[in-house]
Amino acid sequence: MNRLSGKGYAFFLPSVLIFFVFYYWPLLVNLGLSFFSWNMVSAKAKFVGISNYIAIIQSPEFYQVVGNTILFIVFLLVFNFILPYFYSYMMAHMLKYGKTIYRSLLFLPSLLSLAVASIIFLWIYNPMAGPVNEIVKMVGGTSPRWFKEPYIVLFSISSIIGWKVFGYNMILLLAAMVSVPREIIEAARLENASDWIIFKKIILPQTSSSAMYVFVITVVFGLQYVMVPVNMLTQGGPDQGSANLVYVIYQYAFVFYQTGKSAAYAMITMMLFTLFLGWRSRVADKKVYYEN
């Protein structure tokens, strides 16, 4: 409409300022800090070149943390992408009655804070007398120490995020499912197409752009959400068994006071995230069907 002129810049100024100072500038600060060794308190920081990066890549901890991150992603994708996807399909195209009530109820957990969720599940998974333990006992098993054993801890933590985010992601996907034109599906039904064929040939392609978005936020935000229960319940333990790439950045800065390593981890993580987002937009350009 109008060309941007003097007054127009004022509309952008507040946001641009905030984003520059608190989002983009910190990335540069991190890049700088990653070449230094500094404990956050002493006045002097020592320049160490790329040795922070080398130390990280040579440490077994790095590979453990990357492994944890991958397992977290797998669990989170099951809880917060695959399950909500099928549920949203079921609600939009198979169910006749009760849609609105299911929608309202399933969304509810996403309103609670992760701190609240963590404390509830700390009790639910309590290995002495918690409800899950009671159920395990009823079927004759013994409950593991959910937050204290390697690998199991990744499942337990992911399940907290899974519980909280499932409904939210389902609503996002439901919006896409509902917008698939009914007539196409009806027409396919008249031709005696099975639910599976309808799902594969119509639903999947028509919802792919929203599905891609939910896939991305499941990974990008899931790994960040995980930090809250990890910090409250395990502090990354047992033996870094629940630390992921996002959490170690925090640990190195605020628990171990090694800002250089923290910054180097931040740069590595940022790079991996950027690669992931870049891969997404390439796939999106090629394969994804965009409505409108």
Binding site: F19, F22, L95, S104, L112, A115, P131
Partner: protein
Amino acid sequence: MKINIKKELICHIFLIAAVIISLWPVVFMLSASFKELNQIFQSPLNPLPSSPTLENYMTVLGRFPIFDFIWNTFFIAFFVTFFKLTTSLLAGFAFVYYRFKGKELLFNSMLMTFFIPVTVLIMPNYLLISHVGLLNTPYGVMLTELADGMGIFLMRQAMRSIPKALLESAVLEGAGPIYLLRSVVFPLVRPSVIAIGIMFFINSWNEYFWPLLILKDKSQYTLSLALQMFISAEGGSEWGIAMAVAVLTSLPPLILYLFFQKFILNTFMQAGVKG
């Protein structure tokens, strides 16, 4: 459409299972907050307290500055919401109203902030906040959160749905951008403003990590940080009290949801349709 009874039934079974799993922890939190401690341990699976008690809530009121926690949380959430809404409205409007070179680039770099993981930013931001002397104050928490990439995106989406002709005719009559935003655009996007505002408020109310770093003093704690105090007592002596605090923390978002359910669900759905 003909209903296939068997299919419908299977769907309901799956959905009811999901509803039970989704609501059970909430019901559990509520019921445990009204239970005495030995009851929590004796019958963890029974949702009904056999002799409901307000003792946990009394203890919370008596032993902890709970009203300070509530006020601190509200103070931060209110101002964060106010400023995020203002900056998002202004920027969202400018993206619709102006055309200029590099618009897409500017928009994308604002939206990208939404995807930058917070921990990548927290150490430099912490150093900055500490440098300007705002550690341990609510302002230190708020300062980094005055603008929001997703908010700008959603505002622009809402404003795009206003017919172009309406805006153009107002401009032809000599309306300036500020008048246009205040008197034409704002009234039309008010439902989105309310919904986005609720989203901002709930997110800030629930926030944990950033306040954890900035607020060290117990008198400055928000509710989410206060919850942490009960976890150190992992022996399990404080479950009922912890659940009472958890209930108090969850009430405002749940009440907002109760009243604005349609608004909230619709905004969240919009956010997803166009990624």
